[in-house]
Subunit: 426 residues, 2 copies
């Protein structure tokens, strides 16, 4: 049976943003610099900041916290699941085709609804800390095979814990922000390193989640409660300069090969919108330790794709098709592990999955894997080929869950490579 919930706002069947989704984002409206918070619905945005001023939210608890007067989603994220559900229920009601309250009130409608194309999107949250996991077994196996051979592909710890590391929060940017090709130390065999623009600029197709209320230092989040601390998800492109990374990363991990930019999609899809698309976890052998057990069906069936457009605009080819259900370690396991030592996480923290690669070549989530270290270049439809990114290349990641007659989508995470030379002239 198709989902019959519908809005009085027309939404195309292949829109990412039907009433079943209602993702949250931060934007400025034309003629204003103050960031507002709202939800996407079809080609429109419902402005929650204005709605709050108009007292459209009926939940008493929101009247004091006023989460939509914040300039980012952090306050709303901090309120927790009950508040998230209450707001989501109210928005679903207000936008419902059967409810005349907003539908038939042209004056209020003109204040809270505006065209999405007029919204200048910003980062959804002030990200205190950004953690990047490494949770796809196919990705870890691919990379391990390339660098250590098939027999030693997975490190011994990989099957026992969700390996992760701290990334840089200052350089997280919203979709549409140009990415300058980074300079750094490049090392050719048997020569000293030189400083030069990266020649092996790559993408990593990831999903990330934003942390909700979080925990106090010293108090781990039990895996049974982990889902209550997850606000929602976005697409993440963890841009990677493979040559810089390769030379610098021992023994303390990736640093300048990653921290020049991380792109996220602007609309945060709430976990309740993803609920119908939960799917069974991957079988885990050996059995994880008890603190990593008990989060059933915490993978999500999210179709992911990556397109490349080259300078001049002649090409727009889909180069990767993957799915978030290919992950080995799920979001609840990641959060339980991250806090098992008492580490505190805070509202707005971002945790990314690591590159999501499936079993087929086309589903490998990075150029490193898709071209097998550049040995099998991708053939583009205009006859060009790509091992790694060239200046002017634009990468667009997108994702959606397919419901019956509707999609719950993520919009896009886009970034275009700007030559390093531009920076040197400054």
């Amino acid at each position: 049976m198709p989902d019959t919930l519908s809005s009085f706002i027309d939404v195309a069947p292949d829109s990412d943003f039907p009433i079943q989704n209602l993702p949250f984002g931060v934007f400025s409206r034309p003629g204003s610099s103050r960031p507002h918070i709202g939800v996407a619905i079809g080609d429109f945005v419902f402005d929650c900041s204005v709605a709050e001023d108009l007292n459209l939210f009926t939940d008493e608890s929101l009247r004091s916290s006023r989460p939509f007067s914040d300039t980012a989603l952090n306050t709303f994220m901090s309120l927790g699941k009950d508040s998230w559900r209450s707001v989501r229920a109210r928005l679903t009601d207000l936008l419902n085709a059967d409810n005349p309250e907003l539908r038939d009130n042209a004056e209020v409608r003109s204040r809270v609804l505006f065209k999405r194309s007029d919204a200048r999107m910003q980062l959804p949250a002030r990200v205190g800390d950004y953690t990047d996991f490494y949770s796809s077994i196919q990705h870890a196996t691919n990379v391990g095979t390339m660098f250590r051979g098939k027999e030693n592909a997975l490190m011994e710890n990989w099957l026992y814990l969700p390996v992760g590391y701290h990334g840089r929060s200052s350089s997280i940017v919203v979709s549409g922000t140009p990415v300058t090709r980074p300079c750094g130390q490049l090392k050719a065999e048997d020569k000293p390193p030189v400083k030069a623009p990266s020649k092996l600029l790559d993408i990593e197709l990831e999903m990330g989640f934003f942390v909700g209320p979080g925990n106090n230092l010293g108090d781990p989040i039990d895996i049974a409660n982990a889902a209550d601390h997850i606000f929602g998800m976005v697409l993440v492109n963890d841009w990677s300069a493979r040559d810089i990374q390769k030379w610098e990363y021992v023994p303390l991990g990736p640093f300048l090969g990653k921290n020049f930019a991380t792109t996220v999609s602007p609309w945060v899809v709430m976990m309740d919108a993803l609920e119908p698309f939960r799917t069974k976890n991957q079988e885990q052998v050996p059995e994880p330790l008890p603190y990593l057990q008990g989060a059933d069906k915490r993978l999500y069936d999210i179709n992911l794709s990556v397109t490349i457009s080259t300078r001049g605009g002649g090409v727009r080819d889909t180069i990767i098709e993957s799915n978030a259900r290919h992950l080995y370690w799920n979001v609840c396991q990641q959060l339980a592990h991250h806090t098992v030592n008492g580490c505190n996480v805070r509202p707005g923290d971002l945790m990314a999955s690591g590159t999501i690669s499936g079993p087929e070549e086309k589903s490998f989530g990075s150029l490193l894997e898709r071209t097998w270290r550049g040995t099998k270049p991708l053939q583009l439809s205009n006859g060009d080929e790509r091992k790694f990114l060239q200046d002017g290349d634009s990468i667009e990641m997108s994702g959606y869950c397919q419901g019956d007659g509707y999609r719950v989508g993520f919009g896009v995470a886009e970034g275009t490579i700007v030559p390093a030379e531009i920076r040197d002239r400054r």
Copy 2:
């Protein structure tokens, strides 16, 4: 010739906080929860937030930015060197023994000066990103020798770039905050891992600097300008659970073995106060790449020591004596390297040196090195011995520069180990 600058406030010759120092900190005063900003002078604090309200700062540019109405030092850090110098000059003048302005005004004095023992110290800044370097060659050699043998002690990249990684900013705590022994996965040879409290809890003696104005994404900070972006320094204890770290850290670096707590001293000593204690850089062979050259005399002669006090209070032994001049990579090289790829740094970001170890055993900056992986336990004065930290152990790091007749000191970074069991009962 002794420095004859003196304050009308009595300052003992071995005080960390004479008028030559004037370090900045954030605190709350008795009966108030609002954080104030001030400087330490002898056993007193001069309250800059109150002084700002009283218009005691004469610099016009400060009248609009009002840096001391912020609840942390971030605004002041963002203003840059001219403002820092202007404030420092004004404070030196106000507190000078020869200046009657404050000295002879009991009413104003009673509002801006109060006993340091009454200040409840807080973190000096909201730390956006925390980076930890690995800049002591003796430390890297010691650790490398233990884990890979003498021949392969230093990784090939170590002499070419200041190796660093991203740490966790949420778990940075101010001196005096108890540190809960972390739980995590421990792996004995030939057995599967178990979850248990860390048995190899360690310290790392480090110094850290706070970033000033910072740069925009894509615009590297040239090493010639790096010093203008460094606000001041603190002591850092990068607590480390060696057993958790050893199992988890390949291939992406330390994570839960570090992010349960990082302790900093509360008073930030400005670079201008450290100016008389600049000392020559270490000789660097091979010669660094040009972007890492040109920061002359950017090491600092700071005497560092670590004491341990055991539960019950019977022992207070100095177990480490080192010096910040033992670092191989200096602060300007660290900052130039960090931004060479365009990575942006922001006011309040913290960058730590990595463990500072000198050539002598007593100067090794961690228990791992001091006890050579536990093979040579430290003998304490009460007959106890220590390989790693036990519950109830209190670690106090301190540091000072010795001037002629005065010290520029850092106060202390203290933390006491709380048993993991306490957490489990919550």
